[in-house]
């Protein structure tokens, strides 16, 4: 699962969806891999429009990456290098195996062989 996707997923438990704590999930025991992808300036700019910055910071800190600035960079005026760094973090960094925990209900989700599993046991579905 790409780090980009951590910005899109939340706890799948219905009763959590109204809680502001169901996103972002807390990431732990993550094994990361790097997947090369050619850089495209317009694409990463358009992707950044969708990004919730505080949530991205929370997840990157969870996985031990403190390279991102506190404030969301201004995408229209920043250096190309900033965009390249974002491309690296969001699109080239994959969680191969790991765990995701809901900060509201503590439900644990697994990522195995890059595939996150959000299926719920019957009593939560």
């Amino acid at each position: 699962m790409k780090l980009l996707t951590t910005n899109f997923v939340q706890c799948a438990v219905k009763s959590c969806s109204s809680s502001s704590n169901c996103f972002p999930l807390h990431f732990t025991e993550c094994e990361l891999v790097h997947e090369d992808l050619e850089f495209d300036e317009d694409f990463i700019k358009n992707v950044m429009v969708k990004i919730d910055w505080p949530a991205l910071l929370s997840v990157t800190r969870d996985i031990g990456n403190n390279s991102l600035p506190e404030e969301k960079p201004n995408i229209e005026s920043c250096d190309e290098q900033v965009l390249r760094d974002l491309h690296l973090v969001l699109l080239e960094t994959q969680i191969k195996d790991g765990k995701m925990i809901c900060k509201n209900c503590d439900h644990l989700y697994h990522i195995k062989n890059t595939i996150p599993n959000f299926l719920l046991p019957p009593h939560l579905a």
Binding site: F8, K14, L37, E38, D40, P116, N117, F118, P121
Partner: protein
């Protein structure tokens, strides 16, 4: 006509069939609409073999590809199918994110720009229950066809959640068969403030299939 993607071996996964190929043709007709989005999040529900998801790179330049399925074999097969075709893709296109999960219940609201779903649309007495299947089960393919009452039990959940899933300009492409009573489906979706547009209709054996586009905003017909 764009070439049909190669698919990986479908063990315990729905093999691309007439419905899958009809959906590809309908999506191809929608190329002008699809190309209007900027870096859209495109999510396929129930990706099965991955044939539909693997076709989309021929219609949209750069986007955020995502797919879900409850069937664990469908998830790995979709990744293999994507891989098999990736030499034909734009090298700047990220690899598809395949998520094991039910529908799009794991996504934050209002993110999906393009939703695609070839649902289990066959009318059956029940829909299979997840708790009756374990990871290694050889019957996961049951989920591909069994649509419960009027074949609409799963599709209805998606239709009821359109306003949760879709972004403000989002569109959903959903395949229906005649037994689903498309007329009634359209009425229900329109009653919720959506526009419905039939892309095309095709006879496939005993079935008459149609693909509809549902959107919050009215789009140009072409």
């Amino acid at each position: 006509m764009k070439p049909t993607p190669l698919t990986a071996a479908c063990d315990n996964v729905y093999e691309p069939f007439e419905d899958s190929f009809f959906l590809l043709d309908c999506l191809e007709l929608e190329e002008p609409v699809l190309r209007g989005f900027k870096a859209p999040l495109v999510a396929e529900i129930g990706c099965g073999s991955g044939v539909v998801s693997a076709f989309l790179p021929s219609l949209i330049d750069l986007y955020i590809p995502m797919a879900s399925d409850v069937n664990p074999a469908a998830c790995t097969t979709t990744l293999s199918t994507w891989e098999k075709n990736s030499n034909t893709y734009n090298p700047k296109l990220p690899e598809i994110e395949v998520v094991r999960g039910s529908l799009l219940g794991f996504l934050r609201p209002n993110l999906v720009d393009v939703l695609v779903f070839n649902p289990p649309y066959v009318s059956t007495s029940d829909v299979p229950k997840l708790e009756d299947y374990d990871q290694e089960d050889m019957r996961w393919v049951d989920f591909a066809l069994d649509g419960g009452e009027m074949g609409m039990e799963i599709t209805n959940i998606v239709l009821e959640n359109l306003s949760r899933y879709l972004s403000p300009h989002g569109v959903a492409y959903i395949l229906l068969c005649a037994n689903n009573n498309p007329k009634k489906v359209v009425e229900n979706v329109e009653a919720r403030g959506y526009f419905a547009h039939k892309i095309s209709e095709r006879r496939a054996g005993r079935e008459i299939l149609s693909v509809y586009r549902f959107s919050r905003n009215e789009l140009d017909q072409h």
